[in-house]
């Protein structure tokens, strides 16, 4: 084996200081296998070294949380002994290099994180962001990623029910693929990764190990440069068919009392899974590498430990349960190998060809991994810009059409019709609504879920942007009649060694923290993806939030399509006219400067609970959270979803009207009310001091802003459905 020195350590992505620390922890120079293991465990993706101290400040508890961050996924109580398990994760760098496989294996990885805990996966969501539509790679990446997500999710038979798709030039060199999964289990049958029982057998199940993705975890933590093309061989290739077999085999074994702990092999494969399991249990682990099922000939210990071949799990079984477990895995056609055992050495010990090729103190890899408090700056709220001169000459109808036909606000059915969103026959609100809703199988309750983020808000003022992302998921869950329970987060940022970027990260964490605390809506799992930069240009800070809520009775689910003509339309919440960073100013006028809308957490809570009560009391017919494009776009969406028009009136000058219709003030909802319920609602709003504006009523076919515009809903739909159709025509 090659002798290790500082140069080799640096080639592995470690710093000189980190290398010195390794020598200190080992008490000697590491060999190449040991160095490879340290480099995989200590890179950003696995160790969270730049983010850990900040992540630890996030609120992670409320009365529903059974398991917060620290496990493969988070667990929340859904009542009656039922739990819901969920997490979101990134697969950004691999997807840029090979979009189909990158996205596919991203879906595969997050599925495993959920079913490794004993949950049957019931819903996939995703948040995907690409560069400008005109950028030469965008069409290829868009098609590859969407096909990959569909290819994997559809094959494994878990519906993909929600998500976001966005384009912005800041992602030209670094696309984002964040995949979320939700699963269900019984409270007393959740499986954790903490290993226990000295002498218990360590078992490998799933696909054979090949040379896929060696150094994938290292690649995830590196920036791209012109050489990125040549990084291609490190992308993992997924096999959703094998994953389906693995899922069924694991769930079948989990019905018995044979598993002590189980962990999926994700980033850094066998290395991270074996280390995490043993170190959580404060034990050691000894593995004979000759027993690992290999797909290729002559694989070295280094390759075996760092391989990121997909669809593999590591388990610790109770002594004596090996035969019963093997039978199940062999029935499903999967490899099953007893590869080692738990020890009391507190070391990772590897044997190969009867020689000891690795001996590392286990805690040095995880708990004693570097933790950095990097320098950061703090961003103050930018000065408010007076937008009057930008908007006074704007035509309301033209602006409406421009936004509806814009790539970021168009109908996204081109995307989600490539995903099977109906398999498992429990999808009761499919993609396109405020939140997806999946019935809890066999029961009368539902799981609502949504993923949201407005990256340009975050770029303008990271703290507000992150707060807003949390609030938007909260509103989206409320809008379907669900009670928001908890969130998972996927924090996508640039290079944390730059204090401007680290500052974006810290401010985002602080924003999230405040919002989570105010709404009693904690973080139970998540992922951090750093170094999303190419040639020194970073993406916008993108803290994607995945929110999950409980719908106690699925018959009370709310949707945003108008239900009838001659119903009243009202705005809940205060409209003050904030336009900077709105679709109107950013995309129509083309000005990227200025602050995002202010977040008022008290108002978010108050208005949300009010709307929630209205839904529970069956006093409203339709609810839609007001977000991109403001009232006018929100209203148009409600019309297009129902083929029912609307007639509203706005007063004042053109400037006043535009501010009212297009501003993106937060904490607001648009609702449809039957005439008979209006007085009751006004009374309740009054007692709770909630702002309610009656702006008009529903009518057939025509979308109308009195004195300003009249257009058929049919035409609105045509404009709104044109972008994706045309983009992919050739």
């Amino acid at each position: 084996m090659q002798e290790v020195n500082q140069e080799i350590a640096i080639k592995h992505g470690l710093t000189a200081e980190e290398y010195k620390k390794i020598i200190k922890l080992m008490g000697r120079n590491p060999n190449l296998v040991e160095l490879g293991i340290f480099s995989a465990m200590w890179n950003e993706h696995c160790s969270y070294k730049s983010s850990r101290i900040w992540l630890q400040t996030l609120p992670t508890k409320n009365k529903y949380v059974i398991q917060g961050p620290g496990e493969n996924a988070g667990v929340v109580d859904f009542g009656d002994g039922d739990v819901v398990i969920f997490k979101i994760e990134s697969h950004n760098h691999p997807s840029y290099i090979e979009p189909y496989q990158g996205a596919a294996t991203g879906v595969g990885g997050i599925l495993r994180d959920v079913f490794t805990m004993g949950a049957r996966p019931v819903a996939n969501l995703n948040s995907i962001r690409f560069g400008s539509p005109n950028h030469e790679k965008t069409k290829y990446l868009l098609n590859g990623v969407v096909s990959g997500i569909g290819g994997y999710g559809n094959c494994i038979g878990v519906p993909t029910v929600g998500g976001e798709t966005e384009f912005d030039e800041c992602y030209n060199g670094n696309i984002l693929v964040n995949a979320m999964n939700i699963g269900v289990a019984k409270k007393n049958k959740v499986f954790y990764s903490i290993a226990s029982g000295i002498g218990n057998p360590v078992v490998y199940v799933g696909s054979k190990t090949g040379r896929d993705g060696i150094h994938g975890a290292t690649m995830a933590s590196a920036e791209f440069d012109e050489d990125s093309e040549s990084k291609k061989p490190t992308v993992q290739v997924g096999d959703p068919f094998t994953e389906k077999l693995l899922l069924e085999a694991c769930l079948e074994l989990m019905q018995r009392k044979s598993i002590v702990s189980i962990q999926d092999m994700g980033a850094a494969g066998l290395t991270s899974s074996s280390i995490e399991m043993a170190s959580k249990g404060d034990l050691g682990i000894k593995i004979n590498l000759n027993l690992i099922p290999c797909r290729e000939n002559n694989m070295t210990p280094y390759e075996i430990m760092l391989s990121e071949s997909q669809e593999r799990m590591l388990m610790v079984l109770k002594k004596g349960k090996e035969k019963e477990a093997r039978k199940i895995f062999e029935k499903w056609g999967l490899d099953f190998a007893i590869i080692g055992k738990l020890t009391n050495s507190k070391r990772l010990e590897l044997e190969f060809n009867k020689k000891n090729v690795c001996s590392i103190p286990i805690h040095s890899l995880g708990d004693n991994a570097p933790k950095y408090k990097r320098d950061f700056i703090t961003y103050s709220y930018p000065k408010i810009i007076n937008r009057d001169s930008d908007i006074e000459k704007l035509d309301i109808k033209n602006s409406l059409i421009k936004i509806l036909s814009h790539h970021n606000y168009s109908n996204k059915s081109w995307v989600w019709e490539q995903y099977d969103h109906m398999v498992m026959t429990d999808t009761i609100q499919k993609p396109g609504g405020d939140s997806a809703v999946v019935r809890y199988h066999g029961k009368n309750k539902g799981i609502a879920a949504t993923v949201d983020c407005v990256p340009r808000y975050c770029k303008a003022h990271p703290k507000s942007g992150a707060m807003q992302a949390v609030c938007e998921t909260w509103r989206n869950l409320i809008s379907v009649g669900a009670q928001p329970i908890a969130i998972t987060n996927c924090l996508n940022f640039g290079n944390p060694e730059k204090k401007e970027i680290m500052g974006q990260f810290v401010d985002s964490i602080n924003g999230m923290k405040e919002a989570c605390e105010a709404l009693n809506y904690p973080v139970i799992s998540g992922n951090v993806s750093l170094y999303n930069e190419t040639n020194g240009v970073a993406i916008y800070p993108t803290p994607t939030i995945g929110g999950v809520g409980l719908l106690k009775n699925i018959n009370n689910m709310m949707t945003f399509n108008f239900k009838n003509t001659e119903n009243i339309i009202a705005v809940i919440g205060e409209t003050s006219g904030h336009l900077s960073q709105s679709a109107l100013i950013y995309d129509v006028v083309g000005d990227k400067k200025g602050p995002p809308p202010q977040i008022n957490l008290k108002a978010e809570k108050k208005n949300g609970l009010f709307v929630s009560d209205l839904i529970k009391g069956k006093l409203v017919n339709a609810v839609h959270d007001i977000s991109h494009g403001g009232i006018i776009i929100t209203l148009a969406e409600m019309c297009m979803a129902s083929n029912i028009g609307a007639k509203i009136k706005v007063t004042g000058s053109n400037i006043d009207k535009i501010k009212y219709l297009f501003s993106e003030d937060q904490a607001r909802y648009l609702i449809e009310i039957s005439k008979k319920n209006l007085e009751k609602i006004k009374k309740i709003a009054n007692t709770k001091n909630i702002k309610i504006d009656i702006i008009g009523k529903t009518q057939s076919e025509i979308f109308e802003v009195e004195n300003d515009l009249k257009i058929s809903v049919k035409e609105l739909k045509m404009k709104n459905e044109s972008w994706f159709k045309n983009y992919n025509k050739n």
């Binding site: 068919f241 389906k244 077999l245 019709e417 490539q418 109906m422 398999v423 026959t425």
Partner: protein, 224 residues
């Protein structure tokens, strides 16, 4: 009526179809593909999904499963067989139904609610529907493009084997409402003897009010 639903490695819609069958009073057992024998059944269902990952050709490897010998024997005796989506693909690969199902013409997976016209309502599977009625049932597939040569199409037409055809909301069979390029907008066919039915749409996804439609239930009701 007793039904057996065959589960292949990679089948996804087995649980879904079981729920629908039982909802309409059909006793159902799940049968593993490697089993040697079929339990006593009036109906065998090949469910949707991605058996064997769709490797080689959709349904090709599943069609060689041990249990398929029994399924073929069952159909030869006149027993009912229904193949949904991947199940339809397995039926054509097994030659229990003629023709072939190839890649959708736009090369994309498509999942959406579509409308089909009931061209033949005299089959064991459509007896509770009205002739020329329009059913709204979802599809979800990448290889649902039914292909048959001219002679075979003539034969299918002559023998009234075409059961469902993609149509618009008013029942007109047009190119625009054909989601995958299937010849003659064919969405479902029956064997000459009428006891084997293959269809691309998923009736089990349209048999629950909460899921947005009940048209699929007519097929289950017809079976009963």
């Amino acid at each position: 009526m007793k039904a057996s639903v065959i589960v292949f490695p990679g089948s996804n819609c087995d649980r879904d179809v079981k729920i629908s069958l039982e909802k309409f009073g059909i006793k159902t057992s799940m049968v593993w593909h490697a089993d040697a024998k079929l339990p006593k059944s009036d109906l065998v269902v090949l469910p949707g999904g991605f058996s064997y990952g769709d490797y080689l050709r959709c349904g090709s490897i599943a069609s060689k499963s041990r249990i398929m010998k029994e399924v073929i024997a069952h159909s030869k005796k006149g027993g009912l067989v229904m193949g949904i989506c991947n199940g339809f693909q397995i039926l054509v690969e097994s030659k229990l139904l003629p023709g072939v199902l190839i890649r959708n013409i736009n090369l994309k997976f498509i999942c959406k609610n579509i409308t089909v016209k009931v061209t033949n309502n005299k089959t064991n599977f459509t007896s509770k529907t009205n002739r020329n009625s329009v059913l709204e049932i979802p599809i979800a597939h990448n290889e649902g493009n039914y292909f048959a040569n001219k002679d075979l199409i003539n034969e299918l037409e002559d023998n009234n084997q075409i059961v469902l055809q993609y149509c618009d909301a008013s029942g007109n069979i047009t190119k625009q409402c054909n989601p995958n390029g299937s010849i003659n907008n064919i969405a479902g066919i029956v064997s000459k003897k009428g006891n084997v039915f293959g269809l691309m749409p998923h009736p089990e996804r349209a048999a629950d009010e909460l899921l947005g439609g009940m048209d699929g239930s007519l097929i289950f009701k017809s079976l009963k």
